[in-house]
């Protein structure tokens, strides 16, 4: 069962991942006329919640596994790289050759071997499958993996405890949603530990595959793969494992515009003094501009943002 898996992941993670703060700000509450809490996963190691799922999956591997492989130019790749390094395992991250230089450099700095491929002429999956077979590596998927979902679910265990400490009896829990790993993990943990806290997924407008899937009852696809600044959470469709969990536990999905995400980044800068990337600010944006409940908990899922984009958010909205 997923709940037991989450609890087991929390045990393996203790002392290795950071218990992140649940922040709030009196002036933000006053400005929006509601109580707003922010689970600051941007303060997690590697700058996003992805380190939790990565740690959970890597630490669950059978003894004797020689290493891991992931496809990711972003937060998942960095999370897997650091988790593997801290377990003394080889780590290969397969990235497109046109990925930003800084992301390639950071992934290497976390100790991973980066294998580049040409998006136009090469097949990423074929390259990964060959490397896994040749070198005995274990593929770690970004969200459709039970141990990855379980790792993300530890955020939900912490939210349940922190909400109780803060005297929050009922609230909407808004979660930035790509493939649904974080949302599904949190929803499972809250259903068991804090049933008055209900998950709602938050996505960029035009990339609301999860919201539409929850509405229709079947896994819908996004019409396009790019076109929002919220790149960290643009996925083609809900996961096979994550979707049924969210069907069971989540409320109606929300979506926000790129400008709303940028405004949330600026407000988080001013009132919470945290750095958010656009995809990591989507839930806070939904809390501020879409949700109408009196108590809301927004996950701030990541803070790996291009400095130029952050400057633009401040110039326009701070």
């Amino acid at each position: 069962m997923m709940l037991e898996r989450i609890e087991a992941a929390a045990k393996r993670m203790a002392g290795h991942a950071r218990l992140t703060s649940l922040l709030n700000a009196p002036l933000l509450d006053a400005a929006f006329g509601k109580r707003i809490f922010v689970k600051a996963e941007c303060l997690q190691l590697t700058g996003s919640f992805k380190f939790r799922g990565a740690w959970s999956a890597v630490s669950a591997l059978a003894k004797g596994t020689s290493g891991v492989l992931a496809y990711s130019s972003g937060n998942h790749g960095q999370g897997v790289a650091l988790a593997a390094a801290r377990h003394g395992l080889t780590c290969v991250i397969v990235m497109p050759s046109d990925a930003p230089e800084v992301k390639i450099a950071n992934t290497r700095a976390y100790g991973a071997e980066v294998v580049l491929y040409d998006r136009a002429t090469e097949d990423r999956d074929a390259i990964g499958a060959r490397l896994c077979a040749e070198r005995g590596l274990h593929l770690i998927k970004p969200f459709d993996d039970a141990d990855v979902i379980a790792g993300q679910g530890t955020v939900g265990l912490e939210i349940a405890a922190q909400a109780s400490d803060a005297g929050i009896e009922a609230a909407e829990v808004l979660v930035c949603c790509g493939g649904g790993g974080l949302s599904a993990g949190i929803a499972t943990a809250l259903a068991a530990n804090a049933p008055n806290l209900r998950v709602r997924t938050c996505e960029p407008l035009g990339f609301d595959d999860m919201a539409r899937s929850l509405a229709s009852g079947t896994r819908e696809k996004n019409p396009s793969a790019a076109g929002s600044i919220c790149d960290a959470i643009l996925t083609p469709q809900p996961g096979e494992l994550t979707f049924p969990i969210l069907q069971r536990h989540a409320g109606k999905g929300l979506s926000v515009s790129d400008d709303e995400a940028m405004r949330a980044m600026a407000l988080a800068f001013t009132h919470l003094r945290i750095v958010l990337e656009p995809g990591g600010a989507v839930a806070l944006a939904a809390a501020l501009f879409r949700d109408t409940s009196p108590n809301v908990i927004a996950t701030a899922s990541g803070g790996n943002v291009d400095p130029m984009l952050f400057r633009e958010a401040l110039a326009r909205f701070a």
Copy 2:
């Protein structure tokens, strides 16, 4: 004794001030070849450690006190305003009429009455004294007050416990220093609870009154009152109460340039995803560019920064 006062302040503060995270970042450590921990007081309520001293002082007032007064256009004023509001007390903040509009608005939003005066023609102390006498208000000084120092000292109690949890046996503890309230409080707490963690004060170059005073053994003054972007920690000379505490417990003082503070702001943005103001980044700057010890804990004392200045730090150094 100050130590007992700190422990009492911690009890009064429990559930009211935030236990802030001790952050670190593997890539920052790798880039600088040392272990760097950051006590993120920018995540404290009102955006700086000043809320702790304010809460400590306000909560220690005799029953029947009708209200409090502070002189401050910055972090101390906001800390006192929120602490007073949460105690249901009247709060008057005396501010120069040319203070930035946003600071006046924020102080009012925390529930304080703002009394403006003309720097050129009016005497701030005379206005404050008259208001205190007429309205029975209690003056809360920014650092030369035993209960304020005790409140700031709770940061030291937390650092001692968090360093122990992180397996840090010995370290330099670098503290952003204006009048010395935070430094003196932390030094007292660490001397008792973690004697292998030694405080060193950090100041802007040219405003290193505490470093020079520690060297000479007498309270030295700064030659000028303005001229650094680190406005939050520009004070004319060490406090009467804070200086002897630091003479007993602190190592040699450090100082950093404005550009080093800006670089630290940019590195904290990239690696820790926190927002620092220049005066709040001075200790991290000293940790990165001045200190030579293998383990260092830097207090990030505040994050209330002008967005335009933050954008400049990113444009130049991120």
